[in-house]
Symmetry: C2
Subunit: 166 residues, 2 copies
DNA sequence: TAAGATTGACTCGTCAATCTTT
DNA sequence: AAAGATTGACGAGTCAATCTTA
């Protein structure tokens, strides 16, 4: 039942027995699982001509409900990237005709980003495949395991947020 | 106790009640936790003039034990990146005098990458801080929670590897 | 032919600077 | 001033192509 991370911990135990490197067992597996999951999810996005970044924007607009309209700042706050990354994502999506940018009526500093009919159509077609893929990827875990994993990741996230540099 | 991901799930439940998006509760938190952890770990690497990529290479060489020597291919297999990424990491580390590249005696196609005394010194100084940081980041989780999280991430990783495209 | 290592072109992110509006 | 959005320069990864050796 030993995995790659166990081998790493054994090496450290041999080379630096003075250090308790057990937290690496958590962070190492967290990084690897996230990377693997990204790769598996990307495969399905690609079949719809999308990548994670583009899907993320389209899906955020979609789930916000009609009129499927948010500002770059709003998109930034739910994505975990900077506003400049959002601007560049929007450039690509706008070029493809999947979103449109229009000036906000109430505040001249703000831009409204709206899902076009083509964008709505695309995300609604990709979404069921994406969700089915996620179900498939979790098939190896029982309902109880999924629930526990969710709770533990929530606790870890909270701890990590609390310790963020101010 | 609701978090960002719960809000996302609620939006989907409203907009697409036909889809069971519960797996997003796992994958969303996995991605967020991994991203947050990376940011917290980078802070300590930076105090030693390192980033995660550089530290990863130096630490892999360090824990392999004397003579702290591996090939790019060996480094690639434990890192989760391509060999070209390894080559570029090595270019930077070699320029800084932290590793050296020498031809392998037994196989002319192979390069030996060795930790220099400066590289060994740097990684041995950064390591205790890194480990202490990881302990600090996990302080919010009990021993039982860490153990459970490890087991669940291991199970998830195994499932994800099994479902990799061949 | 195949394996190992490297490079160059490209993509996507961050950061710092800029522009506009409040 | 401050807030929102965007751009340009840069860093680090991937992929495809190349070079050397087995």
């Amino acid at each position: 039942m030993a995995d790659d991370v166990d081998a790493i911990l054994e090496q450290w135990a041999r080379e630096r027995p003075d250090l308790d490197v057990s937290p690496m067992g958590v962070f190492g597996r967290l990084a690897r699982a996230a990377r693997l999951a990204d790769a598996r999810l990307d495969e399905v996005f690609a079949t719809h001509g999308l990548d994670r970044a583009s899907f993320d924007v389209l899906a955020t607009l979609r789930r916000s409900g009609p009129p499927y309209r948010l500002t770059p700042g709003e998109l930034q706050r739910t994505a975990m990237v900077t506003t400049s990354a959002i601007a560049q994502r929007l450039n690509k999506l706008e070029e493809r005709g999947l979103v449109s940018r229009t000036p906000n009526a109430a505040d001249g500093r703000v831009i409204d980003v709206t899902l076009t009919p083509a964008g709505l159509d695309l995300v609604d077609r990709a979404l069921p495949d994406h969700v089915a893929n996620e179900h498939r990827l979790l098939a190896g875990l029982s309902a109880r395991q999924r629930s526990q994993l969710t709770q533990l990741l929530r606790a870890l996230t909270e701890s990590l947020q609390q310790l963020a540099e101010p």
